[in-house]
Symmetry: C2
Subunit: 382 residues, 2 copies
């Protein structure tokens, strides 16, 4: 059976060149980067080389990059760290209704600790309402956190405009760039902080980074031996960091061609799938991640659709991979203003650089067949 | 040149069998364990298999194991999590003066948040004073955190006695088992929580686990998509978890023979090195980790000793690998009651299962030569 992986927003295969770069650091150059001997120096040099290569591509200073265990840790460390460090100035945080749970849940936790959080609305395409942002900023606002691109519907946010508003008001601006990093151009220097994950860009799981602009007041989240210049303790994951750097090189140095390839496939997929009656595209028609296609279908359940596609060897998602077992409709789709019944029949197909046009054509046909089959057995579809 | 690695308490090479177990999960079975398709199921099954294999060896329930990014995260998550969740009951925590910074620094941070922390003294061998523990427990004590074995001097703590005192008083007992896990028998069921790291037992860096006994009241440290049954969010590091499980199998299933081998080499090393005048062994003569040898030398600086050994291809440490660049004497050695000048000339050699008697003999000779050389140029040594 064909196996077609179209769930690249959930995770990606590690590129063999990334595995190759990592391999020596498992069993040969295995030192602890804090050790004062040859093994330690090898590890330290590998980390600092990785930091430099990444910084060059993000166009930030190497000293502004701190390695973490992934996007979720970076979000936690930045949001809680900025909140704690600036609570004397104010206790108000602004974020959006369609953030990843790694942003929303730290915010909700901070609310229990006495912080106040405003959740900005978005328009029908999932774009954050800039007027609402302007109105929400108060004297005691210390942080705005808006993602660069949405993990479910792929919508790209107006980071430039938000950063100008934030700068104008003297409020820190963090962006969860997990889905955007290496896939679309982002001006990281316009941000005060950003979260990045390795496994979304053909790097290994279990590693990521936080970008924190010099001068940003932030408290430590992970306390311990004082690694990463005191800002993130824990023995550095040397192979993971080396892998993240290699994945970053591959993503940034081929960003344009990868985006063009994925966009071409996505356009074909959207064209074919929207030929199915009572179907629609969620998210912004243009301002979206190149590989993201997110569909809605009347009269069916997304989960059943997934199962049928799985039987045909196709990996898809109903939205986020991070809320399995959660039968509530997606908070992202609800925020678009879709009625509950329009939120259930959703399908996310996220294209990667290794997908082919043949795979897309096969998938479009499989989706059509599966939707027809499900509608034939649905009491509503008849 | 010979290269002899004797810094296994800092980190270990990943066992080739561990790398082999991990490899398929990078580029072939690369799914996100939360995904509802074949790739996702493969990943989920690998994680649950790993959890079961580890639980079997720790003799705890699989549901009591939560994967993290390493020992430091586990320490942070447990100490802060138990403190936050039980603050209505009390705000007093007891730990020891010789804990790792991943325990001490979260405790110090909690002090700034209004918690009170008692730092227990230890005897001249580094064993926690049980009478002091009894005396320290108050009505509002919520947590005792004492490591299973010390990372610098190797001293093993009386966990059984501490757990009985804790149970008797209804206080949670956490142990940082990073150095003990897989090396000496530990009764994990006598604890309410434990921290474990993979890279200390020939597993990969960037992964670890926390054991949290069922029923323990603990708040979430890493908020997000609700992974690990809501207790630790962030996409699971599948290859890392598989590697930790394999490393656990190898360590636990050969614990006795590894310990005997390391102890034999350590005894030879101690015998040879203590032949150097004005030298002594730090830590307990018997109750210590099998591979740990920690020496003191009068009239020399540990860092110079390291450099000379490094020139001979030998990897050693002055104490912890986690406080590089920190010129203050080790908090562990100070807690033993050693005067400042006796804390500077220290050398930690930590033996691993792949070391040989020939390596130990070569190293003992190299240490003797280096100490003599340094004393010859020292104004105090003459």
């Amino acid at each position: 059976m064909k196996r077609i992986y179209l769930d690249h927003a959930a995770t990606t295969p590690v590129d063999p060149r990334v595995v190759e770069a990592m391999t020596p650091y498992f069993s040969q150059k295995y030192g602890n980067a804090s050790s004062l001997h040859e093994w330690g120096r090898e590890a330290r040099e590998a980390i600092e080389r990785a930091r430099k290569e990444i910084a060059k591509r993000m166009k930030v200073f190497p000293e502004e990059i701190y390695f973490t265990s992934g996007g979720t840790e970076s979000d936690n460390a930045i949001i809680k760290g900025i909140a704690w460090a600036n609570k004397d100035k104010g206790k108000h945080i602004i974020t959006s209704k369609i953030e990843h749970h790694a942003v929303l849940n730290p915010c909700e936790w901070l609310e229990k600790q006495g912080f106040e959080v405003t959740y900005l609305p978005v328009d029908e395409y999932g774009v954050v309402d800039l007027d609402a942002l302007q109105d929400a900023i108060k004297k005691d606002t210390i942080l705005i956190s808006v993602m660069a691109a949405n993990n479910e519907i792929g919508t790209i946010q107006p980071l430039k405009e938000i950063s100008e508003i934030a700068r104008d008001k003297g409020v820190y601006f963090h962006s969860d760039a997990v889905q955007a990093y290496g896939k679309i151009p982002v001006d990281y220097t316009s941000l005060d902080a950003a979260s990045v994950s390795s496994h979304k860009i053909y790097g290994p799981k279990g590693v990521g980074l936080m970008y924190v602009k010099q001068g940003t007041k932030i408290e430590v989240f992970m306390h311990g031996g004082g690694h990463e210049r005191g800002r993130r303790s824990g023995t550095e994951n040397v192979p993971g960091i080396v892998g993240l750097a290699k994945a970053t090189e591959l993503a940034f140095d081929h960003m344009k061609e990868n985006a063009e390839h994925e966009e071409k496939l996505r356009k074909k997929l959207v064209e074919e799938v929207l030929g199915i009656p009572n179907s629609w595209l969620n998210g912004h028609p243009e301002k979206r991640l190149p590989g993201n296609a997110h569909f809605g279908f009347d009269f069916i359940e997304g989960e059943s659709l997934l199962l049928l596609l799985d039987q045909k060897g196709i990996a898809a998602s109903t939205g986020s991979a991070c809320s399995t077992g959660d039968l509530r409709p997606s908070h992202v789709l609800l925020a678009l203003g879709l009625p509950h019944e329009k939120c259930h029949g959703s399908l996310r197909l996220t294209i990667g650089r290794e997908n082919t046009m043949q795979e897309i054509e096969y998938t479009a046909e499989a989706v059509r067949e599966a939707v027809e089959k499900l509608r034939a057995i649905s009491p509503y579809g008849k």
